[in-house]
Symmetry: C2
């Protein structure tokens, strides 16, 4: 998606450890106009699929999934990372390892919001090693839902998440795929 790539080149920055930061338009400050274009592009790429619901994960996936859902005309559910006193006890749960935080955390979705046989599109901001997506797919399997595909804004093409998912037969649509940065420069695959 050219508009997105141009924006990454213009406003994305590389931090220590070659971490791509897109805080100024995607996951701290959010450019809603850009998200509208991202949502339309996901709809175009999954236009042949019947989608009943979009599932994402807090925090950064929520805005993207919500804006995107308008083009599919479906509800959004987001998996919670934090335990909440007011959350249902009756949940699907999966353990996810976070490389950036170097620890496992649990993600949870109330059983009542994933119905057997529903067609689910997963949406998230980043795909790197794929641990969060594996956790969401685990939850979909527990709920006997159908995984329609995975829509990702930025895939780190030099990490294994995309390859793992595609080898599982999952339709993965990433709007920008970046390669391992060289000399502090962002490169697309």
């Amino acid at each position: 998606m050219e508009l997105l790539k141009q924006r990454i080149l213009k406003d994305g920055t590389l931090e220590d450890g070659n971490i791509l930061k897109v805080d100024s338009f995607l996951n701290h400050q959010i450019d809603i106009g850009l998200l509208n274009e991202i949502g339309k592009e996901f709809k175009r790429r999954f236009s042949m699929e019947k989608v009943d619901k979009i599932l994402t994960i807090e925090t950064s996936g929520i805005a993207i999934a919500s804006i995107t859902a308008q083009y599919f005309n479906v509800p959004v559910v987001f998996a919670r990372k934090t335990d909440s006193k007011i959350m249902d006890r009756d949940v699907y749960e999966a353990s996810v390892y976070s490389y950036t935080k170097d620890k496992n955390y649990n993600i949870r979705v109330s059983k009542q919001f994933l119905n057997r046989g529903e067609n689910i599109l997963l949406i998230d901001d980043f795909l790197a090693r794929g641990k969060a997506m594996e956790g969401l797919i685990d939850i979909l399997n527990q709920g006997k839902c159908n995984l329609i595909g995975v829509g990702i804004v930025i895939e780190k093409g030099f990490q294994e998440g995309g390859k793992l998912l595609r080898e599982m037969g999952v339709k993965v649509e990433s709007l920008a795929i970046i390669d391992n940065p060289v000399d502090g420069k962002i490169i697309f695959k």
Copy 2:
């Protein structure tokens, strides 16, 4: 907002401690069509104000703020509750006491996303004792931004947050104000 009140009566539930749960349409599963109507209503109520940016707080505020921002044609910034390795060190920070979790947590916004003199509308799902809003206002003051007002989906009219903010001279627009539940029934003020 009648549509919202009807939805609360239809799908909201009261849990132990008279906690109103709206997980099925507002803060776990999200009805995006309802959020579109909520966004339009916020725009109507703040139509006379110049808004440069919407500020909210993770997690439940993000979807509401993002959908609402489309009607104001402005970006969204969300305050982070969790420390992140990839977050800027140069932040405005405030401490917030959470009654549901019974502990203090810090909220942070990167300084670069709040510019002196910007007109900020605060949006959140719930207003109860007002601690999160006070934290956000603290951050706006640090950034020398102008607080345009506070847009709330559901205000707990029997707790002091709304009163405190209004006594400070803040324009608070709550789309539904609930009273203390009696005999397990939801009552609007």
